[in-house]
C-alpha cells in the first residue's frame, strides 16, 4: 500500500508541478498573481477535446497544439492587458481575475455547461512492487518529466531563459545589462501559459473537460507555490511533489477532508513562519 500511495502521489504531484511552475514564473518575473492560470489549463484541454476527441488528430499533436494555443493567447493577453500592470501587485491580481472570468465564460458559451469526455489514448496498467499504475497517467507523468527537463535546460542554457532568471532576481540590474524587459514578460507569460496549456491538454483524457475544470488545478498551483515560495522554481517542484504525496498519503490513511485541511493548514503555517516558502530565503 505504501508503494501504491507513493505512486499515486508522484503521478498527481508531477502535474501540480507543471501547473505551479508557470504560476510561480509569472509572479517571479512580473509580480502578478495570475488567477487566470487555471483557464489556460482549460484552453489546452478544450483544444485536445476538439482536435483529438472530435477531429481524430494524433493525441500528441493535439497536446502540442493545446499548449501552443494557450501560449499564443497568453502572449496576446500579456501585451494587451498585463504589461501595463507589471510589478503593480494588486491591479495585476485583479486584472488576472477579470481575464479568468472572461475566459471561463467564453468556455461556457462555446462548450456549454456540461462536462465533456475525451477518449483515452492509452489504456491498461502496469505494476511494480505491488503498486498499480494506469498507463494513461504514466504517460502524463513521463511527459511531465520531459517538459520539466526541457524547461530546466531552457532556464539554464538558453539566452532567453537566463535573461528571465536575471529579470526575476533583479529587474533593474537586468535592464541595465540590456535585457529588454518587454520581451521577457511576453516570453515568460507565453512559457507559463504553454506549461498550463500542456498540463490541461495532457489531463484532458484523464479528467473531464468543462468550463470550470481550471479551478481545482489553479487552487493546487496556488497551494504548491505558497509552499515552495512565490517565484521559486525549485520550490514549485518540491512543493508540487510534497502536495501530491501528502494528499495521497493523508486521503488514503485518513480521509480526503483531512488532506484538504492539511494542505490549507500547511499554507497558513508556511506563510506565517516562512513567508518566502519552504525553500525561500528567510531574510527579507
Amino acid at each position: 500500500m505504501v508503494y501504491q500511495m507513493l505512486m499515486n502521489g508522484a503521478l498527481a504531484g508531477l502535474i501540480y508541478v507543471i501547473m505551479a511552475l508557470g504560476f510561480t514564473m509569472i509572479f517571479g518575473i512580473m509580480r502578478i498573481v495570475n488567477f487566470a492560470h487555471g483557464e489556460f489549463y482549460m484552453i489546452g484541454a478544450f483544444v485536445v477535446l476538439l482536435l483529438f476527441g472530435s477531429l481524430g488528430l494524433p493525441f500528441f499533436a493535439a497536446v502540442l497544439a493545446g499548449g501552443v494555443a494557450a501560449a499564443v493567447l497568453g502572449m496576446v493577453l500579456e501585451r494587451l492587458l498585463f504589461r501595463r500592470l507589471v510589478h503593480d501587485e494588486m491591479p495585476g491580481m485583479i486584472m488576472s481575475l477579470a481575464v479568468a472570468i472572461i475566459l471561463k465564460s467564453l468556455g461556457l458559451i462555446t462548450f456549454g455547461p456540461a462536462e465533456h469526455t475525451v477518449p483515452r489514448p492509452f489504456t491498461g496498467t502496469w505494476q511494480a512492487f505491488g503498486a498499480v499504475a494506469p498507463w494513461d497517467r504514466t504517460v502524463v507523468a513521463i511527459c511531465a518529466l520531459i517538459i520539466l527537463a526541457i524547461f530546466y535546460l531552457f532556464l539554464k542554457h538558453s539566452r532567453l531563459g537566463l535573461a528571465m532568471k536575471a529579470v526575476a532576481q533583479d529587474p533593474e540590474t537586468a535592464s541595465l545589462m540590456g535585457v529588454k524587459s518587454g520581451q521577457i514578460y511576453r516570453a515568460a507569460f507565453g512559457v507559463a501559459c504553454l506549461l498550463a496549456g500542456l498540463a490541461g491538454a495532457l489531463m484532458a483524457p484523464i479528467y473531464n473537460v468543462g468550463p470550470y475544470m481550471g479551478e481545482m488545478p489553479m487552487l493546487k498551483a496556488f497551494v504548491v507555490v505558497i509552499l515552495g515560495g512565490l517565484g521559486s522554481i525549485l520550490g514549485a517542484v518540491v512543493g508540487g511533489l510534497l502536495l501530491g504525496l501528502s494528499e495521497a498519503f493523508l486521503s488514503t490513511l485518513l480521509s480526503p477532508l483531512a488532506a484538504l485541511i492539511a494542505s490549507f493548514a500547511m499554507v497558513l503555517i508556511v506563510v506565517i513562519v516562512r513567508p518566502n516558502g519552504l525553500l525561500g530565503r528567510t531574510a527579507r
Binding site: 501587485e89 491591479p91 465564460s105 512565490l230 497558513l268 506563510v271 506565517i272
Partner: protein, 306 residues
C-alpha cells in the same frame, strides 16, 4: 468639492428610488446593495492600511452564522445577535490579526485566502453546528423593540442606516488623526515605526474594525435571506468586494459605495444575457482597470495633487 456633493445627491436620490418605484423586487436588490456596501467598505478599511484582505467573506460568514446560531440555539434577541455576530467576527480578527498582520503585501493576500478557505471548510464540514452544505433554514425575522421586520422594506431601511453609519464612521476616521496615521503607515512603515508608532497594533485595529463591519453585514444578510449555506461566503465574494473597490475607486471612502451601487444590481440588468452575464462582468472590470483606473469616484472628485 462641489462635484462630491453631486455624488452624494445621486446616492441619496438612488437610496429613495425603491420607494418611488415600489415593489419587493426593487427593495430586495436595494437591500442587497445596502448589505454589500458595508462589506466593500470593510475591505476599503484594510486597503487604507495597505493590506489586501481576502478574508472579508469569511468574516461575513462568521458574523452571519454567529448571529443566526445565537438566536436559533441560545434564544438571543435577533437584533442583539446581529451585533454579537459582528463582535464574534471582530474577536476572530483580534485573535488572528497579531499573527496575520506581521505578513505584508501579496503574502498577506495569500494568507487571508487560505484563512477564508479554512473557515469555509469549517462551515461545510462541521455539520452538527453549521448544517453543512445544506445550510441552515427557517431563520426567524429580525425585530427591534418588539417590531418584527416583516417586509423587505424594513431590512432595506435597517441596511440603509447601517450603511450610513459605516460610511460616516470611515469618513470621520479618514479625516481624523487615525486617518493620518493609516496614511503614514501605508506610505512608509519603517519611518512611521522609527517615530514610535506601533504599526502592528494599528493594522490589527483596522483588521478588527473591518471584521466587525463585515460580521454585522453578515448578520443582517443571514436574517434577511433566512437561509445560510457556505456557498454564500466563498472566495468569490471577496473577489466581488475587490471589484467594487476597483470600479468605485479604492482611494476614497465614497468609491466602494459607488462600486457596490454599480456592481450589485448589474446581474439584474443582465438577466437575459445569462451565459454572457459573466462575460460582461469581466469586460466591465477590464474597462475600469484599463480606462477608469481610479474608479467611478474620479468623476466626482478632483485628484489630489501629487
Amino acid at each position: 468639492m462641489r462635484k462630491t456633493y453631486l455624488a452624494y445627491l445621486i446616492v441619496a436620490a438612488l437610496a429613495t428610488l425603491p420607494w418611488v418605484v415600489g415593489g419587493r423586487y426593487v427593495f430586495h436588490v436595494a437591500t442587497m446593495i445596502t448589505i454589500m456596501i458595508p462589506l466593500a467598505l470593510s475591505l476599503n478599511l484594510m486597503l487604507k492600511v495597505g493590506q489586501l484582505s481576502l478574508a472579508q467573506a469569511a468574516f461575513m460568514g462568521i458574523g452571519a452564522y454567529g448571529a443566526v446560531l445565537l438566536t436559533m440555539r441560545l434564544d438571543f434577541p435577533p437584533m442583539l445577535s446581529v451585533f454579537a455576530g459582528g463582535l464574534l467576527a471582530a474577536a476572530t480578527a483580534a485573535i488572528c490579526g497579531p499573527v496575520f498582520l506581521r505578513i505584508k503585501g501579496v503574502y498577506f493576500a495569500l494568507l487571508t485566502f487560505a484563512f477564508g478557505q479554512i473557515v469555509n471548510l469549517v462551515f461545510q464540514e462541521w455539520t452538527s453546528l453549521f448544517g453543512g452544505n445544506s445550510g441552515i433554514y427557517g431563520i426567524p425575522k429580525l425585530s427591534v423593540f418588539g417590531m418584527r421586520f416583516s417586509t423587505t422594506q424594513h431590512y432595506y431601511l435597517f441596511g440603509l442606516v447601517f450603511c450610513a453609519v459605516c460610511y460616516v464612521a470611515l469618513r470621520l476616521l479618514e479625516r481624523s488623526e487615525i486617518g493620518r496615521i493609516f496614511q503614514a503607515l501605508k506610505e512608509d512603515e519603517t519611518l512611521s515605526r522609527s517615530l514610535g508608532s506601533n504599526a502592528l497594533a494599528w493594522r490589527v485595529a483596522a483588521f478588527v474594525g473591518s471584521a466587525l463591519i463585515a460580521g454585522i453585514a453578515g448578520g443582517i444578510y443571514g436574517f434577511y435571506i433566512g437561509f445560510l449555506s457556505p456557498d454564500a461566503f466563498t472566495f468569490w465574494l471577496s473577489v466581488d468586494l475587490i471589484v467594487m473597490n476597483v470600479v468605485g475607486g479604492a482611494t476614497s471612502v465614497l468609491g466602494p459605495v459607488l462600486g457596490a451601487i454599480f456592481i450589485v444590481p448589474l446581474p439584474e440588468f443582465l438577466r437575459e444575457a445569462r451565459a454572457f452575464q459573466l462575460l460582461i462582468y469581466g469586460v466591465v472590470l477590464i474597462i475600469f482597470l484599463v480606462l477608469i483606473k481610479d474608479g467611478l469616484v474620479t468623476l466626482f472628485e478632483r485628484r489630489k495633487p501629487g
